[in-house]
Amino acid sequence: MDHSATTPVDQLVVDAMIPYFTEIFGNSSSLHSFGGEAAEALSMARKQVAEAIGALPEEIIFTSGGTESDNLAIRGVIPYNTSKKHIITSVIEHPAVLNTCSFLESMGHEVTYVPVDTEGIVDIRKLEESVRKDTVLISIMHANNEVGTIQPIKEIAQIAKKHDIYFHTDAVQTVGKIPVNVDELDVDMLSISSHKIHGPKGVGALYIRKGTAIEPIIFGGNHENGMRSGTENIPGIVGLAKAMSLAQQRLNADSKHMQEMRDSLISRIFDIIPDVRLNGHPVQRLPNNINLSFKYVEGESMLMLLDMKGIAVSTGSACSSKSLKASHVLSSLNLEDDYIHGSLRISLGRENTMEDIDYVVESLKETVLKLREMSPLSSQ
């Protein structure tokens, strides 16, 4: 129930990777035939990943994961565009984007963090108002990892295009859940992570549209066409490509299945537990994301009791010596104080079943009742 954190590797992905550890272990840069086989696997994988998102193979750069892809996209466009010092992003981005931006601020760049509405949608009007002559990049995530809100990427892309600004989106949470096509979305760069889509950890990709002026952030032996040096992680890349192909093939069935479970869980919780709210957008929402806030109880305590029942979830509430701190995403949604500390994120995966949902609903009810009995805020 915590698939937005990570997913188990699909057996078909493992099977695809295995030969590349022992039999076809060559370095794709070597000129002999062992290297040739690895190079072939690499080019095949690049083609598969490109096809899954409607890109050209040469527009795919393999990286170590979503975080590196975000770093490359944001830091990579800086050196080529030295006169442009301004970046636009949102307040609810992943730390991989936010912390990269704040590092750039410390190096003299300027960043505008556009706010979101109470359902987590980026304020498009404010975004456009913040465009400057020296804006080099807009980076807005495709969907938020905590509350699941899907952003109007196409609209933002139009603004970027109109003002001749590069547009990057972090699609780590959307690949395999909703359609992701780089031309449909009209983005210049798009980050992908493997381990969120039943692929191995430690590998990802960045789509870079042809013609984008970008420099590498890792230098060395000029792998990945000079964009990302370091001997390619062939088993990982093969695994990512297989996971992408599977995600693409199964997209309709998987997202329908997850959405049915999601909607069932939400409506049943609302039926049986009072004083609960759904965080994020009711419709523009990832099919696998449920983010609920329960009044009178605290997130970490719920998480712990559910963990004891064998259910893994996450919370936007963290406790550090006497004070509770809500996540940067929940804090941006302007929730009432009563709801801000009692949030839980349940993120579904394709291997979950309706029986799992039954068990979660029942366990959640017990958990919330138990904690409300202890809570001085509840009249229960």
Partner: protein, 117 residues
């Protein structure tokens, strides 16, 4: 600590309590409410209600368990270390949280003493 959290002792509010102590606010954190019943200078009953994380709940429970049956003076002399020992320690960085529940107990005792001057 986990045991104390999953099976907490003395949850509730004492009706017509002799002393009540409450600490915290919803804006920035945990809220702990401790109520006491005192007979012949002995804390005959101690109950808690807590809104907060695992540490806040387990330390509240431990404080009520340790204070119950003690004299007012003994209860006032309970220390952070007593709570930590009762819980077999707390996760790193959270050992200061135990003082919070203890503060609520002390407020309850002060409330009792004020009323019985």
């Amino acid at each position: 600590m986990i045991e104390e959290f999953s099976n907490p002792h003395n949850v509730g509010v004492i009706e017509n309590a002799d002393g009540v102590g409450e600490i915290g606010s919803t804006v920035d954190g945990d809220i702990i409410n401790i109520s006491i019943k005192v007979t012949n200078n002995i804390l005959e009953d101690v109950k808690f209600k807590t809104f907060g994380c695992v540490v806040a709940i387990s330390t509240s429970s431990a404080v009520t368990r340790l204070a119950k049956g003690k004299t007012v003076e003994e209860a006032l002399s309970l220390s952070n270390d007593d709570i930590l020992t009762a819980l077999d320690g707390l996760p790193e960085g959270k050992d200061r949280c135990s003082g919070f529940a203890l503060d609520a107990l002390k407020l309850a005792i002060e409330d009792y003493q004020k009323k019985n001057k």
